[in-house]
């Protein structure tokens, strides 16, 4: 369970997160939806505690973030690839697994699994600097789920990944969810929203709608996610 309360964050004078409160129940997939620059990445970084809000609190399983011992239960896939170019794919995984204090045998076994999942088994010995953009993205995803975290934060995980592999990866997310993982995923891609249980619409650093995806879609006339978005931003525009 993730509880965000009255969160504010400014970068210099520029307010980026302006009073967000939300609760994400365990074993659900929650997507953060919003235009570019609306504050999705910043919200995720606040939730995991890499940055600290000016006001408000974030609690994960009743523990105030940031908290060092919680970090072992959290998986994080940043928006940029965040990999070491001068290491091979498997050495990247070995490094992050090691930092998560995984035992050697368990780590090697798990590496085989995640590499297969992101379809990189054939390239595991290749240097990351020789990877394509999509391959880096997949390896980055593999690194974030390696230690089987209880809570997974994914910042635009499927950008640059082909539809077939995207399908496989989403199936995996569903499986993880059924196994009890909470997943928070930011996205631009509307058809991914229907895969999620809840959706949070973020606009200008404010949470303008947060509900079950089915309930949100029921409000629209066309039943399409895009409409939801346009409606929400009009509502926000009227309020300003």
């Amino acid at each position: 369970m993730i509880e965000v309360e009255n969160l504010y964050k400014k970068f210099g004078k520029h307010p980026v997160i302006q009073g967000i409160s939300m609760t994400i129940p365990p074993s659900e997939i929650c997507c953060l939806l919003g235009p570019s620059g609306s504050g999705k990445t910043t919200l995720i970084r606040l939730m995991i505690g890499v940055i600290v809000g000016d006001e408000g609190t974030v609690k994960i399983d009743d523990v105030n973030m940031p908290n060092l011992s919680m970090l072992g239960d959290i998986g994080f896939m940043p928006q940029n690839d965040a990999l070491y170019d001068d290491l091979s794919a498997e050495d990247n995984l070995r490094f992050f697994g090691g930092l998560q204090q995984m035992k050697k045998a368990a780590l090697e076994a798990r590496m085989n699994d995640v590499l297969a999942l992101v379809d990189l088994t054939a390239h595991r010995k290749k240097m990351v600097r020789d990877f394509s953009g999509g391959m880096k993205k997949r390896l980055s995803l593999a690194a974030s789920i390696l230690h089987s975290p209880k809570i997974l934060f994914l910042d635009e995980p499927t950008v640059g990944i082909d539809p077939v592999l995207k399908r496989t990866i989403w199936n995996q997310f569903q499986e993880l969810k059924h196994a009890g993982t909470t997943i928070i995923v930011s996205t631009h891609v509307m058809d991914e929203v229907t895969e999620c249980d809840k959706a949070a619409l973020i606009y200008n650093g404010r949470l303008i709608a947060y509900d079950a995806v089915t309930a949100l879609l029921a409000e629209t006339t066309s039943g399409k996610v895009e409409e939801l978005f346009i409606m929400a931003s009009e509502k926000e525009g009227a309020r300003l």
């Binding site: 970084r45 995991i48 505690g49 890499v50 600290v52 940031p66 908290n67 060092l68 011992s69 970090l71 072992g72 959290i74 994080f76 940043p78 940029n80 690839d81 965040a82 990999l83 070491y84 170019d85 001068d86 290491l87 091979s88 050495d91 490094f95 992050f96 090691g98 930092l99 998560q100 204090q101 240097m127 690194a143």
Partner: protein, 341 residues
């Protein structure tokens, strides 16, 4: 911590340019310096007035290591303008009843060689003018390379490791991998120690390579035990890693690390022993105490020139350890910028 150190090692080994920079570049530059500062065997050209000098002196001069050029007396009317026009002549030498006068083009190594050759010739003719010069440390045959070589040992171990580690850390920040690794339960102190340990491995290899090369291939003489030189070089490199880590907090890109070199490295070069510190005016020489290179260079000089052992260098050793400690504490604080825990 060991994971991080191992990764740093693997990552650096996989990057050929870094390896070249740490291991090959110092040997290359050292060789270059060796030839530039080594005994050049330059034969100065000295102009004398035709027929004016006593014959025994001319013979004595011809026996010395110099070219003699006999010139018409007009050349000596205005020696400065003659030398300006004739670049091949390094000095004009004339003698009348009361005095000896020597005009040199400039006070350079060439001028100094001409002076020495003339003095030696004079001493041959008149043994009373002979000066006996002896040295407490080293001897007259030492080249500039012998007396300044130690400076380069200190500079390399600091500068190259500083650049490599500083850049790697900045890349880690801008590439987002720092954020990712700080999202694991690793402690801040482990991050810093892991880094230092990883680069120390290269520092050790580099120090061994440089010292062996300098002493056994380039014949740089060391009065003291070369084991102590290793110790000082490695310690200096550890300071360099910590220093690089600190700089990487202030730099957002690799280019900015380079832009900071005028503030971080160049002042240290002046205090590394290239200029004798007590010749620096306004007590500015005391600035050396805040420069890590000074401690390294002074100790290495002590070992190589004065033959110091632990008793002679322990203050410098303690100074560098102090730097390591202070920089560690600063870096622990600075890392809070990226994660509070």
């Amino acid at each position: 911590m060991m994971d991080l150190a191992k990764r740093v090692i693997k990552q650096t080994v996989n990057d050929k340019r870094s390896i070249m920079m740490i291991l090959v570049a110092p040997l290359l530059i050292l060789t270059l310096v060796y030839f530039l500062l080594g005994d050049s065997n330059y034969k100065p050209t000295v102009g004398i007035e035709k027929g004016s000098l006593p014959e025994p002196l001319v013979t004595a001069m011809e026996e010395q290591h110099m070219h003699i050029k006999k010139l018409p007396s007009e050349a000596f009317d205005e020696p400065e303008s003659y030398l300006k026009k004739h670049e091949a002549v390094d000095a004009l030498f004339e003698m009348n009843d009361s005095s000896v006068s020597i005009t040199l083009v400039e006070s350079s190594t060439k001028g100094a060689k001409a002076m020495t050759a003339i003095q030696d010739a004079l001493a041959d003719v008149n043994p009373a003018a002979k000066m006996n010069i002896s040295y407490v440390y080293g001897d007259a045959d030492q080249t500039l390379f012998d007396s300044l070589g130690y400076v380069f040992l200190a500079l390399f171990s600091f500068f190259l490791i500083f650049i490599i580690s500083g850049m790697a850390l900045v890349r880690e920040r801008s590439g987002g991998t720092l954020e990712r690794l700080l999202m694991t339960p690793i402690k801040r102190s482990e991050v810093i120690l892991g880094y230092t340990l990883g680069y120390s491995v290269f520092a050790v290899v580099q120090a061994i390579l440089i010292v062996l090369y300098a002493v056994y291939v380039l014949d740089l003489s060391s009065a003291g035990h070369i084991g102590w030189i290793f110790v000082m070089m490695v310690l200096l490199a550890i300071v360099a890693v910590s220093f690089g880590a600190m700089i990487s907090v202030f730099a957002r890109s690799e280019l900015q690390v380079v832009q900071l070199i005028p503030f971080t490295i160049i002042p240290q070069v002046f205090f590394s022993g290239l200029i004798p510190l007590d010749l620096i005016p306004y007590h500015l020489g005391n600035l050396c105490y805040i420069m890590p290179i000074y401690y390294g260079a002074a100790a290495i000089k002590g070992i190589m020139v004065y033959g110091d052992g632990f008793a002679g260098i322990w203050m410098y050793l303690a100074g560098l350890l102090g730097f390591v400690l202070i920089l560690f504490l600063i870096n622990m604080q600075a890392m809070k910028k990226f994660r509070r825990l």
